[in-house]
């Protein structure tokens, strides 16, 4: 494995982390769209509280992926942005509207909260679809410089649907953890709007629904791949590592479902992350050594060696700064609240 492959691995890692974190933030917005029943308000509050401190940091993984792509594989970036101009523009509009609507509803005063809620929810549902469609078109090669709508083909549509389902599934699992860890108020005092067991259960049911949607859409992807990208579909079973990774994904999926049914949310979260990572890794292994089907390979699109030689250490250095900071951010906002009686439970101020 040489420098281009290593950087391609970093690029895939950034995309995976984007889907696991930023993607789940979009998924949370999808559940905002479906918030209903007596706890609709509590559901929305949970979503907003879960997103507020972390969504911007999560979003940066997308920027990292783009920057690594145009630095290390400039012809691939050019090909991507020309052939997939339309779904990329749609993706960006979703990114802009989701992010803006989220802060407007949070800071815009009581009237705007209601108005922006819908923009936030609809943009959250549409964006992962276009992200998935772009990845699907990159896999199948259903994209062309002459026909800007060539990406409207079975595989990109199926991957768009699967990406949406994946984001919704991950988000529901995370939110079930978030709700169950905050039952009865974070620091012991009674908050009438604090998450309840019923709220955690709402997201357990949503997670199971998301799991089913993901299973169905993944089956759809498999069928579409056979129609649209037979070479890729074949490699899904024959490429080294692809089949074992697929088996890991399937096993983690079953285990995650069991954990959800039993209400073991933290375990379900770990399993869901393993499931999603193995799924996407199997996909990536089958796609390699292509970067953008049908014509651009990792080697063929790589920047001159001097660029990769500098970019490598820069990315390692960046990871040394960013990853511990990110870990700290998640610890501060996502760690379970200290139990009463814990010496750390005193107010820090």
């Amino acid at each position: 494995m040489g420098a281009p492959e290593l950087i391609a691995l970093v690029l895939s890692g950034a995309l995976l982390l984007y889907i696991l974190s930023g993607g789940a933030d979009f998924g949370a917005g999808i559940w905002d769209l479906f918030a209903r029943g007596p706890r609709a308000h509590a559901q929305r509050r949970l979503v907003e509280g879960a997103l507020a401190p972390v969504w911007e940091a999560n979003h940066v993984w997308l920027i990292v992926a783009v920057v690594v792509l145009f630095t290390a594989f400039p012809p691939a970036f050019a090909a991507l942005t020309i052939r997939l101009h339309v779904p990329l523009v749609a993706l960006l509009i979703g990114v802009v509207l989701r992010g803006s609507a989220l802060v407007f509803r949070q800071y815009g005063g009581p009237d705007s909260a209601h108005r922006w809620q819908h923009v936030f929810a609809v943009a959250s549902a549409a964006t992962p679809f276009f992200l998935g469609a772009v990845l699907g078109a990159v896999t199948s090669g259903a994209a062309s410089e002459r026909d800007l709508l060539a990406w409207i083909a079975p595989l990109p549509i199926a991957t768009g649907a699967a990406a949406t389902a994946l984001c919704a599934y991950l988000a529901a699992v995370y939110l079930a953890v978030e709700a169950s860890s905050k039952i009865g108020g974070a620091s012991g005092e009674t908050d009438p709007e604090a998450p309840t067991r019923e709220l955690a259960d709402d997201f357990r049911r949503r997670a199971i629904a998301g799991w089913i949607a993901l299973a169905v859409t993944c089956a759809g992807c498999a069928v579409a791949a056979h129609l649209d990208a037979p070479r890729f579909a074949g490699r899904l079973f024959t490429a080294a590592w692809s089949a074992p990774l697929g088996a890991v994904a399937a096993a983690a999926a079953v285990a995650a479902l069991v954990a959800l049914v039993r209400g073991r949310f933290r375990l379900a979260r770990v399993l869901a992350i393993v499931q999603a990572s193995a799924l996407l890794a199997a996909w990536g292994v089958a796609h390699a050594p292509l970067l953008i089907a049908p014509d651009l390979t990792v080697r063929g699109a790589a920047a001159p060696p001097v660029t990769l030689r500098i970019l490598g250490p820069v990315l390692v250095g960046g990871a040394l700064v960013v990853l511990p900071s990110l870990y700290w951010l998640m610890r501060v906002f996502k760690a379970p609240p200290p139990r009463p009686g814990d010496p750390r439970s005193g107010s820090p101020t």
């Binding site: 507020a52 401190p53 972390v54 911007e56 940091a57 979003h59 940066v60 997308l62 920027i63 990292v64 783009v66 920057v67 145009f70 630095t71 290390a72 400039p74 970036f77 050019a78 991507l80 942005t81 020309i82 101009h85 990329l88 523009v89 960006l92 990114v95 802009v96 509207l97 989701r98 992010g99 803006s100 989220l102 802060v103 407007f104 800071y107 815009g108 005063g109 705007s112 410089e145 800007l148 920047a303 001159p304 001097v306 660029t307 500098i310 970019l311 820069v314 990315l315 250095g317 960046g318 700064v321 960013v322 900071s325 700290w328 951010l329 501060v332 906002f333 107010s347 820090p348 101020t349």
Partner: protein
């Protein structure tokens, strides 16, 4: 070179995307400095107004930073969506500063989350440190992305062979001679634009309610950032002018509207024409010859708007520097913050000046770089995407940005009103 409609739509979309983003980017650089300064003052003096101020400014930062983050994402993609041949040629050379910017921006987003939502979760010192890291990484990310632009104006670190860049050296590219002055000019502009606008908001509040301790504290901090930036900016601007004279003489001619090559070139300051002044400003020698527009092929001339934008930038920058001097004088005579109504009115009037000057300066640099995307290497007409129908994304994003601008204004008005009401109650 004649430019087709598609290329014009591409340039237009890039231009307004940047013009939009740059305002929020500037605020993302400077607001963290103000909010951390307010929190430090609170810890030092124990005065509640500073705590209130830090929290209010943090809320404003949260909204504006978010819009900056998403509009910046659009730009990263637009490099390819609109000018894919540019990144295809240049990605391997200037991807490096973009990567460093990405890392700096990542750090900024993480610590902003910790700062904004960590008031009750972090120890005071740690909280202030998070805010300081936001400010630091904000400035770093501005510096890196400006270096990429400096390279487009004065490209280095490669050898041209049949019009293609070979033997590339990304480190040498970052050492472009335009890096230093562009970075300083941009970061100072961000501080000026933001601090002058913030000062204006609180000057307006003080005109309505003279002597309010909350708004006086706010105005003091905003001026502490605005005044030094406004005084340093003309010096950096002068340095920038000399570098442009040396490396982009055509841009200099366009900025100064110099039609013919002239020895002892004059400069008009208001109605007075000072002989040899332009020669002296550009080359440090009143007798130097300054090349005029007639020295270059007409097809390479940038749009005449460069001249007007340059005048707006220099004019507003000079007024801001003058206001800074007068303010310093008043502070020194009163041994404190002035409260004369005429001075407050002037501060209020100058509120948008920093932002307008920054946009005008951006027009000078960027329109002045045309018809090149990479100066002297790649023409914009050759960088543009083969995708057709660009009027559609042009219109879509234009509508979205106009809408966003309106909503941001409404949200900020809501926040400012809440702040003033709270200050009046308190």
């Amino acid at each position: 070179m004649a430019m087709g409609n598609e290329a014009l739509f591409a340039r237009g979309q890039m231009a307004y995307s940047l013009a939009f983003h740059i305002v929020f980017a500037a605020i993302g650089i400077a607001m963290p400095v103000l909010m951390v300064a307010a929190e430090v003052m609170w810890r030092r003096t124990g005065r509640a107004v500073y705590l209130e101020l830090a929290r209010r400014w943090a809320r404003g930062t949260a909204v504006l930073f978010a819009v900056g983050a998403v509009s910046g994402t659009v730009l990263a993609f637009e490099l390819g969506l609109l000018f894919p041949r540019f990144m295809e040629h240049a990605g391997a050379i200037i991807g490096l500063p973009f990567s460093l910017e990405g890392i700096a921006f990542f750090t900024e987003a993480i610590f902003l989350g910790l700062y904004l939502y960590g008031w009750d979760k972090l120890r005071p010192r740690l909280h202030i440190a998070c805010g300081a890291l936001v400010a630091l990484s904000g400035a770093a990310s501005a510096a890196f992305v400006t270096i990429a632009n400096a390279w487009m104006n004065a490209p280095r670190g490669f050898r041209l062979e049949d019009g293609l860049m070979v033997d590339i050296d990304p480190i040498a590219a970052m050492g472009t001679p335009f890096a230093l002055h562009e970075v300083l000019h941009t970061v100072l502009a961000a501080f000026m634009a933001t601090a002058m606008a913030v000062a204006a908001i609180h000057a307006w509040a003080l005109l309505r309610r003279p002597g309010s301790p909350f708004h006086r504290a706010a105005l003091g901090l905003a001026l502490a950032v605005a005044i030094p930036s406004a005084l340093a900016q003309p010096l950096v601007g002068h340095m920038a002018g000399q570098m442009v004279a040396r490396h982009q003489p055509l841009k200099l001619a366009a900025m100064d509207g110099l039609e013919r090559t002239t020895a002892r070139a004059p400069m008009s300051i208001g109605p007075i024409e000072v002989p040899g002044m332009l020669s002296f400003m550009a080359y440090g020698d009143a007798d130097a010859t300054v090349r005029g527009l007639d020295d270059f092929p007409a097809a390479d001339h940038p749009h005449p708007i460069v001249r007007h934008a340059f005048l707006v930038m220099v004019g507003l920058g000079s007024i801001a520097a003058l206001h800074a001097l007068v303010t310093l004088l008043l502070c020194w005579r009163r041994r404190g913050l002035p409260d004369a109504r005429w001075w407050l009115r002037a501060t209020l009037l100058l509120g948008p000046a920093g932002v307008i000057a920054m946009e005008a300066g951006w027009i000078v640099t960027e329109v002045g770089r045309q018809p090149w995307t990479i100066y002297g290497v790649l023409r914009t007409a050759d960088a543009v995407t083969p995708v057709t129908g660009l009027w559609l994304p042009f219109t879509l994003f234009a509508v979205i940005y106009v809408g966003l601008a309106a909503v941001v204004t409404a949200v900020m008005t809501h926040q400012v009103r809440k702040t003033t009401d709270a200050a009046e109650r308190g």
